[in-house]
Symmetry: C2
Subunit: 440 residues, 2 copies
């Protein structure tokens, strides 16, 4: 069991029940069991299988598949994020650790290795693709004329411009031979089965990991509109603009579109997402005796604004027993964004929590826990934080006014001072973030 | 009964039930009944009474007081918003219609008339003050050296900067002789009884109508910090900066502070607020057979961010029946702010609705209604708007992409095109805003 506690949580009567609720949520999206449950399918019984696992959760996902189908898998290629475990624990397995969120040289090795491997695919084989978040950066294979460095610069520009991930990945798909259905084209005529652990709200299949095995509804025209919208047309490397313009003129083939023959075999299914995690938390909260509900699994917005909104809900729960009477556990799933103003240490979940400290001050028997399900909130070793009605007073005794820390985006320093940073280590899954507003 | 409908609502099966829920909320905060209920107090039995009613709801509030205490009131001064009924229906009554949200020449007349009237107050009199939202603009009496025009410019700048009302009123209180306890100072030694219809979240007595009869905890130092925070120090009229700096140096008296002798008699009580309205809506929603809950009565934040959050809740209600299963009516009270980027027509409630159009597209049997309880959303003749799963499609058929209108802050033009602006006329009450997320 992961250590879901902080110094404050340890002393609260709901500390242990809340820890069990969080555990239940994380256990429900543990990659291994999800893959195992999805695998006993007729098409895997006899056919030789080529395994491609791509994304931050690819190691545990591949482990589960190799355990479940030890004889069928003749080749396994696993592309994961640098820093994850990469020992090659299976004789026919290759593990590549590549860059994220910006692709690096190993991402290119991954793309080339996959393309070479798929060139020898036979029609009676199956390709099992295990996808998780981060796939867009971990595997690249640029179109001719575009270099890795071009892709890196463009991704930097797009991510810094505030463009949503859907827009970023639309551009990526049109510059890369393995994205936007490209992997399916390379594997044809072997059928592809894709199992997805989703980290994109709403599970748009063509956006997660830039949709390597599904049709791409977007066009070259869309990519130029995106560059224009974020004022990047003049700033992206020349080779990229040249390729995109060539694409709009029909000088290079479009990404495979819905209805294309290459998608007539195989299928794609989402095996885990934030909703699975939230529902597991809901069930456990019922078992623990809380009044409980999921408010949303698609929360988004600027972290500090979302925090203010959560605080107003917590106030209502304390003052009027609405929307849920005590003891209550309100569950919220989604992912906020942080517009950086300062240079402090923190992540979106800790910033949501920090934005609630003042509004919760003095409230009785209420706690809020924020959590990145991958255990890694922003560029920190923390997963989130815990706030209660005493947080403000304790912070002021330490001469730490929360607004000062919020201005600097320095949430982790703030909560470390209180002993209320939530540290659980990497969970090897990633389905966005959860917040729990709890009264007792 | 007010016409709570739009062309879309008329055709929905929950159109009528929803209209009755909104009616119930508005009826519960109708000023007349609230004042009548609060008045049969011992201290009114025999003493001569001077009546000051200030705010958007002052006409019905004063009506109720004059009906209940016809013999005691020897002078009634009513300050209301331009456009409200102003006939002088009572012999000892003066009605002044002044400017809002920016004070005008009549606001100055109101401030001067009140100051002159209170100069003749005797110690055995009682002053009955009926306060409602808008009082800050409807009655002004600038400190010496500051003109009405200075105040107007400053209020414009502060409102457009996105500063919360608490900050705006902190500055106002330090530039005005009737705000921030100033009215109590003018009335001293006569005791003041203040009945408040609150339009400020959490009912901070010193913020509503800029707290004319209660102690002011804020300081001149706070005002300078606010101007700095919103980058207005160089932009406000010179006379205003001069006065505020003079105040910080002790060159002009502070506003009356907690513990001051002028507050030793009398009392202040809130007779109606957003919570009263939300609870009435909750009861009516139960009667209509909806699963229902109040999410919060203290929602705040930037309108378009709040709209995105509401949309994610509506999606959850449709997809998973969480937090409430169909048929459901989730009630949210509070007030958002709009940071102006464009020059379109709209208000905060319509902007919240506009920010939801894309996310709601295609969703089945869901409607969201946003409403300013005073019937006046921003500088428009609308109270709010209605959004459903068909709004986007209908808008695109009219070549009206919602994002274009959002960029221009042009929500009313957008919803007028769809026939989904909610127009109910001024309601003569004001307790902030309500949003209803309804499934069926």
């Amino acid at each position: 069991m992961l250590p879901i506690e902080t110094s404050t949580l340890r002393h609260l009567p709901i500390g242990q029940p809340l820890a069990r609720i969080v555990q239940a949520a994380l256990a429900a999206v543990a990659p291994g069991p999800l893959v195992r449950r999805a695998l006993p399918l007729a098409e895997f019984a006899t056919k030789p299988l080529r395994l491609l696992a791509i994304g931050k959760a690819s190691v545990p996902m591949a482990h589960a598949a190799l355990d479940a189908l030890p004889d069928q898998v003749h080749t396994a290629l696993i592309v994961t994020k640098e820093g994850e475990a990469t020992q090659e624990w299976h004789p026919r397995t290759t593990v590549i650790a590549a860059g994220h969120p910006i692709a690096n040289a190993n991402s290119l090795v991954a793309g080339e290795t996959i393309a070479r491997s798929l060139a020898t695919t036979a029609a009676d084989e199956r390709v099992l693709v295990l996808l998780s978040g981060g796939g867009s950066a971990l595997m690249v294979l640029p179109v001719p004329g575009v270099t890795l460095s071009d892709l890196q610069q463009m991704t930097h520009l797009l991510l810094a411009s505030g463009a949503p991930i859907t827009a970023v990945n639309t551009v990526r798909k049109h510059l890369d031979l393995v994205k936007g259905g490209g992997l399916a084209r390379l594997a044809y005529p072997a059928p592809i089965i894709t199992l997805i652990l989703s980290d994109v709200l709403g599970n748009p299949l063509d956006v997660i990991a830039s949709g390597p095995t599904v049709p791409d509804p977007s066009t070259y025209g869309d990519t130029l509109a995106i560059l224009e919208r974020y004022a990047l047309t003049e700033r992206v490397p020349a080779a990229i603009l040249t390729h995109l313009v060539r694409g709009t003129r029909g000088g290079w083939p479009e990404t495979p579109k819905p209805g294309d023959a290459i998608f007539s075999h195989g299928y794609t299914t989402v095996i885990g997402d934030i909703e699975v995690a939230a529902k597991a938390a809901l069930l456990q909260a019922q078992v623990e005796g809380f009044h409980t509900a999921i408010l949303t699994t698609a929360m988004e917005g600027e972290a500090r604004e979302v925090g203010r909104f959560f605080a107003s809900i917590a106030q209502e729960m304390v003052h009027s027993g609405q929307p849920l009477p005590r003891p209550a556990c309100l569950i919220i799933g989604g992912e906020t964004t942080v517009t950086l103003h300062g240079t402090g240490r923190g992540g979106r979940n800790q910033e949501v929590a920090l934005a609630m400290v003042e509004a919760l001050a003095g409230l009785d028997r209420v706690a809020v826990l924020t959590l990145a399900t991958d255990g890694v909130d922003g560029p920190t070793d923390a997963a989130g934080a815990v706030v209660t009605g005493t947080s403000l007073q304790r912070a002021l005794e330490l001469h730490c006014p929360p607004t000062d820390f919020l201005v600097r985006n320095d949430a982790m320093t703030f909560f470390d001072g209180l002993g209320d940073v939530l540290r659980i280590g990497p969970t090897s899954t990633n389905v966005n973030d959860l917040t729990f507003i709890v009264t007792w």
